[in-house]
């Protein structure tokens, strides 16, 4: 398992509502860019794939060099995709899922620092 991961929660209409980069590797200056780009491109695939399977966790839908994109597709509108690089997204996603505020407004950015900390803690656990 790689040492770095990037989570992006993407709402419907493909808007990233949450982004987190976690991991121990030194952050490359272009990493945000890169990861965004890769995940963005992966959405094409996810959209194709999501309809063909009933599974929620789509492992390694895309691969860009050594970066692996996995997706946890939720059944709810609020979090249609949860894309992560390199990590066991399924586990993290499921736990993330439980972190969400019930009063969360669908479609808006997740800005809660609490959520962020939790996600990072989770990621550390699984990385």
């Amino acid at each position: 398992m790689a040492t770095t991961a990037c989570f992006i929660i993407v709402s419907r209409n493909d808007i990233p509502i949450y982004e987190a980069e976690v991991g121990v590797a030194a952050k490359r200056e272009d990493a945000a860019q890169l990861h965004q780009f890769i995940l963005h491109a992966a959405l094409d695939i996810v959209q194709d794939l999501a309809w063909t399977t009933s599974a929620m966790y789509l492992k390694s839908v895309d691969r860009f060099n050594d970066l692996v994109v996995s997706v946890y597709v939720t059944a709810v509108d609020a979090l249609p995709f949860n894309i992560g690089l390199d990590v066991d997204v399924a586990v993290v996603s499921k736990e993330e899922w439980t972190l969400l505020n019930p009063l969360y407004l669908p479609g808006s950015r997740i800005t809660s620092s609490h959520f962020d900390t939790k996600v990072r803690a989770l990621a550390r656990k699984y990385l």
């Binding site: 209409n13 493909d14 808007i15 990233p16 200056e29 272009d30 945000a32 860019q33 890169l34 965004q36 780009f37 890769i38 963005h40 491109a41 959405l43 094409d44 695939i45 194709d48 860009f64 060099n65 050594d66 970066l67 407004l105 479609g107 808006s108 950015r109």
Partner: protein, 1856 residues
């Protein structure tokens, strides 16, 4: 070149016919494949079967008894190979042969050209051959092959094998055996000409043939042989017996003068052999002779001269004819003499003899009597002195007799018979070669070692390669020991040599191999070893047209006699054998044809016991064993019709799983049996390459005669069809003309016979074709038959292959397993399927093959050659199976991965294309490229520099090209098509990335846009890792300088707005470091690494990074540190140059090189790839990929100033990113877009871009940059715009309502809305105006309402609050809509209130934003309630307070005004004040649940307030305190009523009219902030008089006094006090007594509580009416003076006095008047009748009863009134006669006193008649008016009548 070759071919073709014509004598042709012995051979011959007798294979075929494998065989001089070794060698050899590509005809040519050439020539050749054949009638049988679209030649190539040759064709071949009954030849191939075995006897030494020439020392034993390589020299040998003599030869050319005699000096040898000493043997070589000339020569110079002559051969030329004689194993018997003589006198006149060994048989004599050598030489002198004999060493030349001390082999032979071996580079005289005329003759020694690395082996290998068939078309090999031999002698002796050399013979297309040794004659068909089971190695020769013909001609006639024991039955490959003595002639006609004939000694010359035409293997590879003759031209006659049927429209074949599959348009070709393709095959390949064999055999037959049929045709056909291997059927061609009845009848008969003979129950094997009038169903019949044949053949072959494959697969895991074998079988199967158009199955085979390959390769773990190092390998060959011959790759069972995998994929893709499964091609191709690229990466160290990248680029492009060229729109299902395009896009982008990497390496990095996509792709892609990084070529310093200049000149493109972002990286690590590390690590260790660490110098080296000027000198100088060392790190420019040079070496594709040659070319290619990728992604609906790539195109356009296109594409990209909110990515692209728009003067767009830039996350840009954006925006807004530009700033200016509950407004109320606005601008920004729309959430028709901001707006960064006036809105709830405003000319609008503004559509917005209402306008409701405060009636005609209860319902009544308007009958006393007080109705609060808690608290702190107000113009203004609390307004009113209250008597019921008593008040309350709320209400108020009066006369006293009871009902809810009451009586009544109409005063005051009654009695009496004045008073008036004590909150209350009239303390007395109508009594009865009671014991039926009435006179009888009446009263009893029986008088008069009070009783006896209640009789007074009778009405009176009494007799009591 092509043309010339072609011409040559044509010439040769033109040449050949004449020979054919001459040779077309119709003779016996042996038929190779129709051998009737075939079957039996298989059964009982040990040749193939291993059981029973030990297989010949198991005994190594050395005649000596040495054990194989170890010891060197003394006799044969070589190691007898062991069984295992042989097998191994053999199988390898066979495989290699199998994989051998077609021998290149022009080796030096490039393969493509050759192929092309071959195509043309072969087709032409074949075509012409057909024509020629048919017209000459030479070919006796016709093979028709079916052709498909590919050319014949290509097919042939395919046949030659998959070994990588061009496998393109798919062809089903049919053999047509055309049989013509008329010309029927012997089909057997055995000519067992038997002769009695006779022991041949050597001629005695004193025979004349041995006679020595006369004369002293006369030269004897003269013989010549060729003396050099090409025939320009002759070796002359002779023997002098007496003395040595001169070794001199005089010679001269015929025609030249004798004086020009030349002299050649020779040398002389002698030798000893045991006890024999030789004479003087002279050898002399005549050199430099001229070609084709007759020379005379003389030997015996000085003693006895003898003169001879010889012909030199013609100059070497391919088409020169030449005739060779063939003699072997001659010996010196009588038969030898016959043979020689027969040869000498042969009219064909051999010009030279090829002698195949065993000359003298001297060794058959004791001690190898060498005198016999002498005698033999004298014997043959008569021939060999005049023509050269080419010597071959046989076993009888060995002369190895160690027991007598002769241990040097070949001593006599070498001494006596020199050969020109040195001229051909041989090291020993036993193997050598010569060229003579058009033949290249190779002589081999069967008794010299021939294994690998032996001199013979090495020599032959080199020699065969030297053979130039264009000069010497004929390649002839001479051996002694035959390789193939079906006699019982010397069986398999030649085997060791065969296994070694045979592949070469096949490979080099040796035409014929002559051998001796076996003393018989035998000709084989072209044969070659085959292996029926590769693994077990069972083998045997099979017919194979590519192999040489083997001829054993050891029948010279020696002492050992004939070999007449043969292997029976005759094996298939043996074409002709006969144990007879004879010789043969090999007559070369031209380069293509040679005629061979064998002549028995007994025969005349016209008889050729065996003959055949040889077709040159190289120039004219046609089978030499023609089979069946088609003299009657059947085939040409039917050919057009047959071929018109091709390709077969439809056929049903079985696929691998034996399921029928319908194949359409099955390509096929008819070929004749003579077709070269059927012949030029190696026999042992036949099974392996079985798929190439024809699939159906059609026998064309015609016959016009029954006898002919019986005697000739039938047996012949039987013979043919016995061959079970073929699927055959017969087509009977009827030539009978329909008009000719007889002929057609005969044809029918014959056909019927035919059917009887050959049709079986299972299968119809015959069909009839009428040439003149084909039957209609014939063609269908034919096709179905053909199809059936094909199907069966296919099945059979598939089965065979599968079986083989299965066997092989079982051994998969064994070490001996050989992938090559597997591969061959598998691919054969695949190819067969492909030919049959069963592409699916073929594909499956290839798939399995690939799987197996990968498994094998991975399993064995051997270090294998990867391949790919050849030139041109960088161009992917994944679609071109014929790119490389696999043969070269298959070495030692190793398939080079590089070539092999590409080959496999190419095959697969080809099939997929055929199946039209483009998608699969694409998907497989893509994954193949990916996986293969990985393999390349693994082997990158051994591959050329950047091989991997180059390969991927070319592979992708090739794949794309191929796919697109096959692509037809609309054939795929939509979703598949989507994925298909996506794959194409992937391919494109893969190529693109690799291409960019290449470009970067050679310094075009600056051309590459540093966009996210490029960065992502390239920065994660590792650099190529060659073993050594290429170094700069020596002479490239100029280029380096140039590059350096370019690097220095390159300035990074400045971003618009002066954005200082760091450019994205394009490299995984810095190239400089990488390159130098790769070099450094090789030699200098980590020296550079330390340098790198210290200086960090490489950071600045990347050309496109912005290099601070100060660092440039540093960079340039830094390499100087290493100037002294050899391993100076390269500078960047050097790296570029080095890479470029290396790439030029690597890349063979001109196109790719060109693309990399300059930056312009690069860019063009780059654009092409990018566009391709983008287009395909778009088509696959992968918009993200597509759009992103559009951005790349845009970048290029941008760079070139095509801002239009750039802007368009950029817009797409930006729209995508921003639509989804990928900020980081957007930040990269957006400035570029802005720049474009700026340049294009697209102000609107530019503004929008600025806004977008501003609205990106703050962290993405520096604050200064953001300010720059803003200032740009503002500048534009204020200055340059001509027209107002609408702009969406949703993401920048956002707004929301205040937190908390929405503002609630009642209907029609205005308000003020406060909105929070966030500004995303980095600075304050002044907005000229702000409008905000409200959008009602519910009503759709209602448009948005615009609100205007009231305050000027300067938005600070961050949060601002603005307030907006809100006009009255319709009811409903409202959300914030759009914020619009203006900045200068710029009209902006903003939708959202969330920070990140999403898309513009309302649709989206309404979804995305939850409707949080900012404003709620309530529906119209009662805001206030007006009600009458009092429910009980008020007093009429009095000034009464009327209370109006004003109850605000959650709404402030501040400043409310109440308009009061009274209805009729009511007036407001407006002079009086109006009181207003709070209203504390707790109970009401409870009733009205509207009140909330707060209100309750209010009520607790209730504080009563009273205020006096005045009424102005009917208007009351509310005080402030009354705005929220309920209050009551007391208004003084007076209900006017001029009617008197009217009482009612007891007789009349009360009639009440409430309406009369009601009065109305119209109220109109105006309230609200702007008095916009109006509440109207009309109140009804009940007014009433205080009392309601009822009267009744209670008693009439006798004295005429009437007591009038007056009852007063209280009508009000107040206590009334009556102070006085009096009655003003009407006329006719008077008061009685003194009280003057008043009751006694003691009654008063009388208090009446609410709702109670009081009564007053008045005593009155009737009075007289007097006077007129009394008349008018018709009613009595009751006057009551009363007081009232009530509360106005309840109801009636003391009326308010005027100030003026008010008396202090005075009792407020009110007068109530009521009218009462009294009526005088009108009439009195004067008689009363009463019914007296009946007796109490009841009435009984039948019992008399006395009814009694009393009649009483009530008053005096007035005379006036009743004058006629006296005291008599008439009565009458009336009774129902049914019920009563009147016993007395019914009617009668009784007297009654006229005085008042007189009474009388009338009794009447009656008897009831019925029981029950009955009406009693009634007494009437008929005379008196009823009115004067007071009588209780009798109606209700009923009496009870009992039933009659019971008879007592029924109830006598018993004595007791």
């Amino acid at each position: 070149m092509q043309n010339t070759l072609l011409n040559q071919t044509k010439e040769s073709l033109q040449l050949s016919p004449k020979f054919e014509v001459s040779a077309c004598g119709v003779g016996e042709f042996s038929v190779g494949h129709n051998n009737s012995n075939n079957r039996t051979m298989k059964g009982n011959n040990g040749y193939l079967v291993t059981m029973g007798a030990p297989s010949p294979r198991s005994r190594p075929a050395c005649t000596c008894s040495n054990r194989p494998g170890s010891v060197r065989c003394a006799r044969h001089g070589y190691v007898v190979p062991s069984e295992r070794m042989k097998k191994r060698v053999a199988s390898k050899e066979i495989l290699r042969r199998a994989l051998t590509p077609p021998p290149p005809r022009r080796c030096e040519k490039r393969s493509e050209e050759i192929r092309f050439f071959m195509n043309d020539s072969d087709t032409t050749q074949l075509a012409t051959t057909y024509d020629k054949l048919t017209c000459v009638g030479f070919i006796s049988s016709i093979v028709v092959s079916m052709r498909n679209n590919t050319s014949l030649a290509r097919k042939e190539e395919r046949h030659i094998h998959m070994g990588g040759a061009n496998i393109t064709s798919s062809l089903l071949v049919f053999v047509f055996v055309v049989v013509n009954a008329a010309v029927f030849c012997n089909g057997g191939k055995t000519s067992s000409f038997t002769r009695k075995p006779e022991k041949t006897v050597e001629m005695p030494l004193d025979s004349d043939v041995f006679e020595a020439p006369a004369g002293y020392n006369a030269p004897q034993q003269v013989h010549i042989t060729q003396g050099d390589d090409e025939g320009k020299a002759v070796i002359v040998s002779w023997v002098t017996v007496n003395e040595p003599g001169k070794s001199e030869v005089h010679y001269w050319r015929e025609g030249s003068p004798r004086s020009k005699k030349k002299v050649a000096k020779g040398h002389r040898v002698t030798y000893r052999f045991f006890n024999y000493s030789s004479s003087f043997i002279h050898h002399c070589t005549l050199k430099d002779l001229e070609f084709d000339s007759k020379y005379y020569y003389e030997v015996g110079i000085g003693h006895t001269k003898r003169q001879f002559w010889f012909m030199t051969p013609p100059e070497i030329h391919p088409d020169v004819p030449y005739t060779f004689g063939l003699i072997g194993d001659l010996g010196q018997t009588y038969d030898s003499n016959k043979t020689l003589a027969h040869y000498e006198s042969n009219p064909k006149k051999g010009q030279a003899v090829l002698f195949v060994g065993d000359l003298s048989y001297a060794d058959d004599h004791p001690n190898h009597d060498n005198n016999r050598w002498d005698s033999w030489a004298r014997f043959v002198e008569r021939s060999v002195a005049y023509q050269p004999w080419i010597w071959t060493a046989g076993n009888h030349e060995i002369d190895f007799v160690p027991e007598i001390g002769e241990s040097v082999p070949h001593k006599p032979f070498t001494r006596r018979y020199p050969v020109p071996y040195k001229a051909s580079g041989s090291s020993a005289p036993f193997w050598y070669s010569i060229k003579r005329a058009s033949a290249h003759i190779i002589v081999l020694s069967s008794y010299s070692a021939c294994g690998k690395y032996t001199p013979q082996y090495i020599w032959l290998k080199a020699e065969l390669a030297k053979v130039d068939r264009t000069k010497t078309p004929w390649l002839i090999v001479l051996l002694h020991t035959p390789w193939y031999n079906t006699y019982d002698y010397h069986y398999l002796e030649g085997e060791t040599m065969r296994v070694v050399f045979e592949p070469w013979f096949v490979k080099y297309k040796v035409d014929v191999v002559f051998a001796g040794h076996v003393h018989a004659y035998e000709r084989s068909v072209s044969a070659k070893e085959r292996i029926s089971n590769i693994v077990k190695g069972h083998w045997g020769p099979v017919k194979d047209q590519s192999a040489p013909v083997y001829i054993t001609i050891g029948d010279g006639g020696n002492i050992e006699g004939l070999a007449n024991k043969m292997i029976e039955p005759q094996p298939e490959y043996s074409a002709f054998r006969e144990a007879s003595f004879g010789h043969a002639i090999f007559d070369i006609k031209n380069r293509t044809h040679a005629h061979y004939s064998w002549h028995r000694n007994e025969d005349q010359y016209s008889v050729e016991a065996d003959s055949m035409w040889f077709f040159n293997r190289y120039w004219h590879p046609i089978d030499d064993s023609t089979t069946i003759e088609d003299v009657s031209d059947l085939w040409p006659a039917v050919k057009p019709a047959f071929e018109a049927r091709l390709p077969f429209k439809q056929g049903s074949l079985n696929n691998k799983t034996r399921n029928p599959v319908l194949v359409e348009k099955l390509p096929a070709e008819f070929i004749l049996t003579t077709d070269s393709r059927l012949r030029s095959r190696f026999p042992q390949e036949q099974l392996l390459f079985w798929f190439r064999e024809p699939y159906a055999t059609i026998v064309l037959v015609t016959c016009e005669d029954l006898d002919e049929f019986k005697t000739i045709l039938k047996p012949r056909l039987k013979l043919i069809v016995q061959n079970d291997e073929r699927e055959w059927f017969i087509v009977f061609v009827s030539r009978a003309h329909p008009a000719n009845d007889k002929a057609s009848a005969m044809a029918k008969k014959v056909y019927a016979k035919l059917e009887v003979e050959f049709n079986t129950k299972k299968r119809e094997r015959c069909c009839k074709y009428d040439i003149h009038l084909p039957e209609s169903n014939f063609w269908e019949d034919l096709e179905s038959k053909i199809m059936e044949c094909i199907r069966n053949t296919l099945d059979k072959r598939v089965q065979f292959y599968e079986e083989e494959i299965r066997k092989l697969s079982e051994q998969r895991l064994m070490p001996v397993w050989n992938f090559c074998n597997f591969f061959i079988l598998k691919e054969s199967l695949a190819f067969m399927f492909e030919m049959a158009h069963l592409h699916d199955d073929a594909l499956r085979e290839y798939d399995e093959l690939e799987l197996c390959y990968i498994e094998t390769v991975n399993n064995t773990g051997k270090q294998r050659d990867f391949g790919g190092a050849d030139h041109g390998d960088d161009q992917a060959a994944l679609l071109n199976p014929g790119n490389k011959a696999l043969t070269q790759i298959v070495q030692d069972d190793s398939f080079r991965e590089f070539e092999f995998r590409q080959y496999l994929f190419a095959c697969q893709s080809k099939l997929l294309f055929k199946l039209n499964r483009l998608f699969e091609v694409a998907s497989r191709g893509y994954s193949f490229i990916i996986s293969f690229s990985k393999s390349l990466a693994l082997h990158e160290r051994i591959l050329p520099f950047c091989m991997r990248e180059t390969w991927v680029v070319t592979a992708c492009l090739a794949l794309i090209d191929a796919i697109l060229s096959n692509y037809n729109d609309g054939l795929m299902a939509p979703d598949i098509e989507k994925r298909f395009f996506h794959l194409l896009g992937d391919l494109y982008s893969l190529a693109r990335v690799k291409f960019m990497r290449l470009a970067y390496l050679i310094g075009y990095g600056t051309e590459i846009e540093r966009s996210p996509v490029n960065s992502a792709a390239l920065s994660l892609l590792s650099w190529p890792k060659p073993a050594v990084w290429p170094s700069v070529p020596a002479d490239a310093s100029a280029e380096v300088l140039e590059k350096e200049k370019v690097i220095l000149q390159t300035t990074s493109r400045t971003k618009p707005f002066g954005i200082q972002r760091k450019p994205l990286p394009l490299e995984p690590t810095v190239l400089l470091r990488e390159a130098n590390r790769r070099r450094a690590s090789l030699s200098a260790g980590n020296a550079f690494e330390t340098f790198d660490g210290r200086q960090g110098i490489t950071e600045g080296m990347s050309p496109s990074q912005k290099v601070p000027p100060s660092s440039i000198p540093r960079t340039n100088s830094s390499p100087g540190n290493f100037d002294g060392s050899i391993d100076r790190p390269m500078r960047l420019a050097e790296i570029f140059v080095a890479a470029e040079h290396a790439l030029k070496k690597t890349i063979s594709s001109q196109e790719l090189l060109k693309s990399l040659s300059s930056s312009e070319e690069f860019e063009q290619k780059y654009l092409e790839l990018t566009k391709g990728a983008a287009d395909n992604y778009h088509r696959s609906l992968w918009k993200r990929h597509g759009v992103v790539l559009d951005g790349e195109i845009a970048a290029v356009s941008f760079k070139h100033g095509h801002f239009d296109q750039a802007a368009k594409s950029y817009e797409k990209v930006c729209a995508l990113y921003s639509g989804e909110g990928w900020q980081d990515l957007l930040a990269e692209v957006l400035p570029n877009l802005a720049e474009c728009q700026k340049i294009l003067n697209d102000q609107a767009g530019y503004l929008l871009s600025c806004v977008r830039l501003l609205s990106l996350d703050e962290g993405l840009f520096l604050n200064e940059e953001r300010q720059a954006f803003q200032s740009e925006l503002v500048r534009l807004a204020h200055s340059e715009l001509k027209d107002p530009v609408p702009l969406d700033v949703s993401s920048l200016i956002t707004f929301s309502g205040n937190p908390g509950p929405p503002l609630e407004l009642c209907d029609r109320d205005p308000g003020t809305l406060s909105v929070t606005v966030w500004s995303g601008f980095p600075d304050d920004i002044t907005l000229d105006s702000i409008n905000l729309t409200l959008v009602p959430t519910s009503s759709v028709d209602e448009g948005a309402k615009a609100l205007q901001s009231s305050t000027p707006n300067v938005l600070h960064p961050g949060r601002n609050t603005i307030t907006l006036d809100l006009p009255p809105q319709k009811p409903g709830s409202y959300v914030l809509g759009v914020l619009t405003g203006q900045i200068g000319q710029l009209r902006f609008r903003s939708h959202s209130f969330s920070k990140i503004g999403p898309a513009d559509t309302d649709d989206f917005m309404s979804y995305e934003k939850p409707a949080k209402p900012i404003l709620k306008v309530l529906r119209p409701r009662a805001l206030v309630d007006l009600d009458a405060a009092v429910s009980s009636p008020l007093l009429t005609n009095e000034r009464q307070w009327i209370g109006i209860l004003v109850r605000p319902i959650n709404y402030s009544l501040k400043g409310a005004v109440l308009y009061i308007d009274t209805g009729p009958g009511l007036e407001i006393d407006d002079s009086h004040v109006i009181e207003m007080e709070t209203y504390a109705g707790v109970s009401e609060n409870d009733d009205n649940k509207v009140q909330k808690d707060g209100a309750q608290i209010d009520s607790l702190n209730y504080e009563k307030k009273v205020e006096r107000l005045t009424l102005h113009n009917g208007k009351i203004e509310f005080p402030n305190w009354a705005s929220d609390t309920p209050s009551i307004i007391w208004v003084l009113v007076r209900a006017m009523s001029d009617m008197l209250s009217r009482g009612s008597s007891s007789v009349t019921t009360r009639r009440e009219s409430i309406v009369d008593a009601m009065r109305t008040i119209a109220l109109n309350l105006e309230f609200g902030v702007y008095h916009n709320q109006i509440f109207e209400r009309t109140l009804a108020v009940h007014f009433t008089y205080p009392f309601y009066v009822t009267t009744r006369v209670t008693d009439k006293c006798n004295d005429g006094t009437l007591l009038l009871q007056v009852i007063l009902h209280s009508e009000v809810k107040a206590t009334l006090t009556i102070y006085d009451a009096w009655l003003d009586l009407q006329h006719g009544f008077i008061h009685n007594g003194q009280t003057e109409g008043r009751p006694s005063s003691s009654l008063f005051p009388l208090v009446i509580s609410p709702t109670s009654k009081a009564g007053i009695l008045f005593s009155i009496c009737l009075g007289k009416t007097n006077g007129e004045e009394d008349r008018k008073q018709q009613e009595s008036i009751l006057n009551i003076k009363y007081g009232i004590s009530g509360d106005r909150t309840i109801g009636a209350h003391p009326p308010v006095m005027d100030e003026s009239t008010k008396v202090d303390g005075a009792r407020q007395e009110l007068i109530f008047k009521n009218a009462i109508t009294l009526q005088r009594p009108v009439l009195d009865p004067c008689l009363a009748v009463g019914f007296l009671p009946l007796p109490s014991d009841g009435l009984r039926v039948g019992q008399l009863v006395k009814m009694q009435w009393r009649v009483e006179r009530l008053k005096d009888l007035d005379e006036k009134e009743v004058p006629e009446q006296n005291d008599e009263v008439l009565y009458e009893v009336k009774a129902n006669s049914g019920n009563w029986m009147i016993a007395g008088r019914k009617r009668g008069h009784v007297s009654l006193s006229p005085k008042q009070g007189a009474r009388i009783i009338i009794s009447v006896l009656c008897m009831p008649l019925v029981a029950g209640y009955v009406r009693p009789p009634h007494l009437g007074l008929p005379d008196v008016d009823e009115a004067n009778v007071s009588c209780k009405p009798a109606g209700p009176h009923l009496v009870c009548v009992l039933p009659p009494a019971l008879s007592s007799s029924f109830c006598i009591p018993v004595n007791s």
